[in-house]
Subunit: 244 residues, 2 copies
């Protein structure tokens, strides 16, 4: 018997605070900073200022506002101040905003060469996104290693054995309540890729194997020749045009 208990004193978010959070994202410079932080890594205030093309003092104001809104946290380390997203939920907001922005009528939207690399393969929080990420989810589902139905994702028994062979230990640490395997909507492909602990472990393993190397500054990932053959052999994924 599941009982619905009386109202708790949980914090309640009214429509006003939705506006506050949205407004804190709704500035070109701040949005760029947040997107840059989506890979989960922390950056210094100076890096973020340079990224936004603004002076340090303006960036300081932006950061203060985002801290106030509960989007990022900052911790001092020596004379640097490292900033990171406060929670994966923030990355989720950004992804969903991108999805809505992608629906909107494509007005004058200049797409540069960096965009192409991002569409190809990038990190989403700590897992793999982009065309390669979607293809990976498709391949795993095709081979019965995961079930990818209706936006949901589950690891099968076959899959568990496979991932173990591939060098990923899915033994669940009791401390972590993080979902094992989450279907995360890819904003550029409009189809799901794999998130959660499995998604993170897969990306970590790919980097360990030297299949993917991170870009210098942005979230783009570069596929190495070894990765090219690796994805083909282990997952049956043929990348038609390798990004150079």
């Amino acid at each position: 018997m599941i009982e619905v208990v009386a109202p708790t004193t949980v914090a309640f978010a009214s429509a006003n605070t939705v506006a506050e959070v949205a407004a804190a994202i709704g500035d070109p410079v701040r949005a760029a900073m947040l997107v840059a932080l989506m890979d989960g890594r922390a950056r210094t205030a100076g890096e973020l200022a340079a990224l936004g093309g603004i002076t340090a003092q303006t960036a300081s104001g932006h950061l203060a506002r985002m801290v106030e809104a509960g989007l990022v946290v900052a911790e001092k380390q020596g004379r640097h101040r490292y900033v990171r997203l406060v929670d994966p939920a923030v990355a989720t907001v950004l992804e969903s905003l991108m999805a809505v922005a992608a629906i909107a009528p494509p007005r004058h939207r200049p797409t540069g060469p960096a965009d192409a690399a991002l569409r190809e393969a990038r990190t989403c929080w700590d897992h793999l996104a982009g065309r390669l990420g979607v293809a990976l989810a498709d391949a795993l589902a095709r081979d019965g290693r995961i079930v990818l139905a209706d936006g949901a994702a589950l690891v099968t028994d076959v899959g568990e054995a496979f991932f173990c062979d591939f060098g990923i230990d899915l033994g669940r640490p009791p401390a972590s309540r993080r979902p094992l395997c989450r279907a995360c909507l890819d904003w550029s492909e409009r189809r799901p890729h794999l998130g959660g602990r499995l998604g993170a472990a897969l990306l970590a393993r790919f980097r360990e194997l030297g299949w993917l190397v991170p870009g210098p500054r942005d979230r783009a990932l570069r596929l190495t020749p070894r990765g090219r053959s690796g994805f083909a052999e282990s997952f049956g994924i043929e990348v038609s045009r390798a990004p150079t």
Copy 2:
């Protein structure tokens, strides 16, 4: 063999457009309007103006901006202008914003009586959310009718038969690409409830059976005495304190 094809000409969302969409949400009045539209129903411009406590001409400006940002669509009908969310993806953004707002440190956040009713049971786009929605998902999972693992949700064979008995036809209309059953994070409970086609069908059936009746203006749902016993008998859900 799954092939990753060369880049398509899909519309690309840069960080700037994320800011545009977020800024279009990031005003207290506009956010309140959008939240009011989250049930998927359309409202007239005048209703939304009254809801925000502003004059008609100011509301007109807000609506124009939200249309421009691709958040809502408006269609004229006689001398009224009906406004609705452009896509469920917009509701997803709002839900995720609420989730982030709920994480943020609970500052002076006055919670009124309407909030309590909303926490109890409400519509989320077109399905059931709130404590009752979360309890329903829990109960269905406990009875093996769905599998609710790691934020994912799948209907079992047992469940399919049960839902059929309950008066819900899950035969998939080929035209609809909408997920059958989606785990939707409940912002007030921080736990998943059921969305997708199944979630929508369940709520529709509950209203058909007279178990739940919609509130006059907001998204709150009221549990009827019949619903109280119905939820107990069919799902084993005991609501400890019925909202009057």
